[in-house]
Amino acid sequence: MSSLILRTAIRYLFPIIVLFSIFLLLRGHDEPGGGFIGGLLGATAFALFAIGYSVETSRRMLRFELHQLMGFGLLMATLSGVVGLILGEPFLSSAWIEIPIPGRPEPFKLATYLFFDIGVYLVVLSITLMIVYALAEE
């Protein structure tokens, strides 16, 4: 499908969708959102490229091989649980460090759950794209 309208629109939509997916990912710690929904949305951005241009273009945009991306995401999610184990707590216990932000009273809490969510984001993104590419290449 090579529609000029779609191709032009994708160039503007792509950054917005990706940014919004990352916003959803980070928001998911305390509010609705999270790695799963963020990953799905991120995958749509690349899927649009696959529809408007070609699967090859979309793959080039992504830069990483999907299997490796999935493995990396899964590893990240697993290792975020191992941190608790190393600290002597049960597996998947959360641990965090507080980073003071100048000019704000509350420090920023960097928790292992964030890495878990990023891992989920990558896994969902890569699996969705795997399915989309496989169908698009048929």
């Binding site: 091989e65 191992v82 049960p90």
Partner: protein
């Protein structure tokens, strides 16, 4: 110590991820996979040691107490199963290095093998019914892909039957989990055990519904375990993938079903053993006879072995089914015999976990050299490969139950328990099945090993032989190691029986299992359990 319970699940997961990162390098994946399996054996042995010395161990993920959090429990039975699965996984990994072609390796064979082990170990160790479902699904997903990897016509045919029947059983499983949660308000196995006692004492009118639920779980696990009459996917699919995959399937998939059944029907559904366990016992008897007759009708190496698994599953269920006698007799002898029957099941599961895959591994070597699995076109392996022939004989005679090999002790214990409980009919079937098993094994022995080499066999072709012999050591060594394990299993039957008796005692008296689980103080359902006690 708490990392030890989680390690058999964590290790395969982390290694599968690492192997995905090494996607383009199948040779590196091989060695990562082998290292992972060896480490898994270490974890399994450590876990077994800790459980043997210190009793049942449990772990609440992220520190949330039961029944809210995710529970992992390791008792003797589950840690034995983890250890045995890891040992077999290591052997199959070495075997796969030669047996699995490069095109299959490059589509993620080794990561999938580890994910299969993840699902299997998870199912053995989980203390939560919903998590059991999740681990079942992980195992099934990995097995679906392993079964179809390569995409040959026969594989697809077998896979469709396998996938369809297993998806139906998963749906029944999930529905049963939903109803169980609606009835009891918990899915934690230890808590469920308390709840069933509470329901039996306070709401006896709900007991028939509980029996129906037990039957739903029986069907769900029965499909996975290839129990009579739900076994049709097994003979249709096991002979289609490469022998290494057949071996790991024969070792692990059905065992998880049997394990879950043993767990559920000793820990949770003990409210009406007269009905539920009688059904298991009857199905066990049918399974034994049906599987062995079905195998006798087959004429291909791996088809015989696959059909044969159905009858062996019957033996495993017999030990669970013998619990039925507790409904009729309450004396010391009956309790001891029931415990012995369950110990027989445990020994049989472990024995079969080594023997059946080893026969599949031998069939892989025979098919590689002989070019086919058809018994008519094979022959002369005793002359050309005497060592292989001896290893086949050890495994085959063990399967048939010839003393002093592992299969003899497993059957002896089950038969003895059956005699003490005066269940003569099932004992008769068990003995008859043993005899017919010998017939099937002798049939393979006579056709593939004992006869002369056929004239049109590819064995006479020098180029074929050079190709077939390349790397064959990596297929022979794992077979030899497992054959040694089988012999040692028979030699050390005494200590193994003692451990199995202890494991069976833990299962028949679930108080240690329940005490090991750390409950939350404000547990709403636990209060009901205490109410029942007072």
């Amino acid at each position: 110590m708490n990392w030890l319970i989680i390690s058999p699940i964590l290790l395969p997961l982390v290694l599968a991820c690492i192997m995905l990162l090494l996607w383009r390098h199948p040779v590196w994946q091989r060695w990562t996979a082998l290292g992972g399996m060896v480490a898994l054996v270490g974890c399994g042995a450590g876990l077994f040691g800790v459980v043997y010395v210190h009793g049942v161990q449990s772990e609440q993920l992220a520190g949330y107490g039961a029944p809210f959090g995710i529970t992992f429990v390791a008792d003797l039975f589950s840690s034995i199963m983890v250890l045995a699965s890891a040992i077999l996984g290591t052997a199959v990994t070495v075997y796969s290095m030669t047996n699995i072609e490069n095109r299959r390796e490059s589509f993620g064979y080794y990561p999938l093998l580890h994910l299969l082990l993840l699902g299997v170990c998870g199912a053995f160790l989980t203390g939560d019914v919903f998590n059991l479902f999740v681990f079942f699904e992980i195992m099934l997903m990995a097995s679906f892909v392993l079964l179809t990897l390569g995409g040959e016509r026969g594989q697809m045919e077998g896979a469709i039957k396998y996938v369809t029947l297993n998806l139906i059983s998963s749906a029944i499983f999930l529905a049963a989990v939903g109803i169980l949660y609606g009835m009891t308000g918990t899915l934690n196995m230890a808590d469920l055990s308390n709840q069933v006692v509470w329901i039996a004492e306070n709401r006896p009118e709900e007991l028939p519904l509980l029996t129906i639920l037990a039957m739903m779980f029986l069907i769900a696990f029965g499909v996975k375990a290839a129990m009579f009459p739900l076994f049709f996917w097994l003979p249709a699919s096991y002979h289609t993938p490469p022998p290494a995959v057949s071996a790991i399937f024969a070792a692990l998939l059905t065992k998880v079903g049997v394990y879950s059944m043993a767990r559920f029907f000793t820990l949770i559904f003990t409210h009406d053993v007269g009905t539920t366990h009688m059904i298991i016992l009857v199905l066990a008897g049918f399974g034994m006879i049906c599987g062995v007759l079905g195998a006798a009708a087959q004429n291909e190496f791996r088809r015989i072995l696959a059909f044969h698994s159905v009858s062996q599953i019957g033996y495993m269920l017999m030990g669970i089914g013998l619990i039925v006698m507790l409904a009729h007799r309450d004396d010391e002898i009956a309790h001891h015999a029931v415990q012995m029957g369950l110990a027989g099941t445990i020994i049989f599961v472990v024995h079969h976990l080594f023997v059946k895959p080893n026969l599949f591994l031998v069939s892989g070597v025979v098919e590689r050299i002989g070019g086919t699995g058809e018994l008519k076109k094979l022959g002369g392996f005793y002359k050309t490969e005497p060592l292989l022939a001896i290893m086949f004989l050890i495994s085959a005679l063990s399967l048939a139950g010839i003393p002093p090999l592992s299969g003899f002790w497993a059957k002896y214990i089950l038969v003895l328990a059956g005699l003490q409980l005066e269940q003569y009919f099932i004992v008769f079937i068990a003995l008859l099945t043993g005899l017919l098993t010998l017939y099937s094994m002798v049939k393979i022995w006579a056709a593939a090993f004992w006869t002369d080499v056929p004239d049109d066999s590819p064995v006479h072709n020098a180029a074929h032989m050079a190709h077939a012999k390349h790397g064959i050591r990596r297929m022979i060594y794992p077979i030899a190691v497992i054959a040694v394990i089988i012999v040692l299993f028979g030699v050390f039957a005494g200590p193994i029986f003692d451990v199995a008796m202890e494991a069976a005692a833990q299962m028949l008296d679930p108080s240690a299992y329940i005490e090991a689980v750390q409950f939350e103080e404000f547990s709403p359902t636990l209060g009901r359990g205490e109410e029942a006690d007072s």
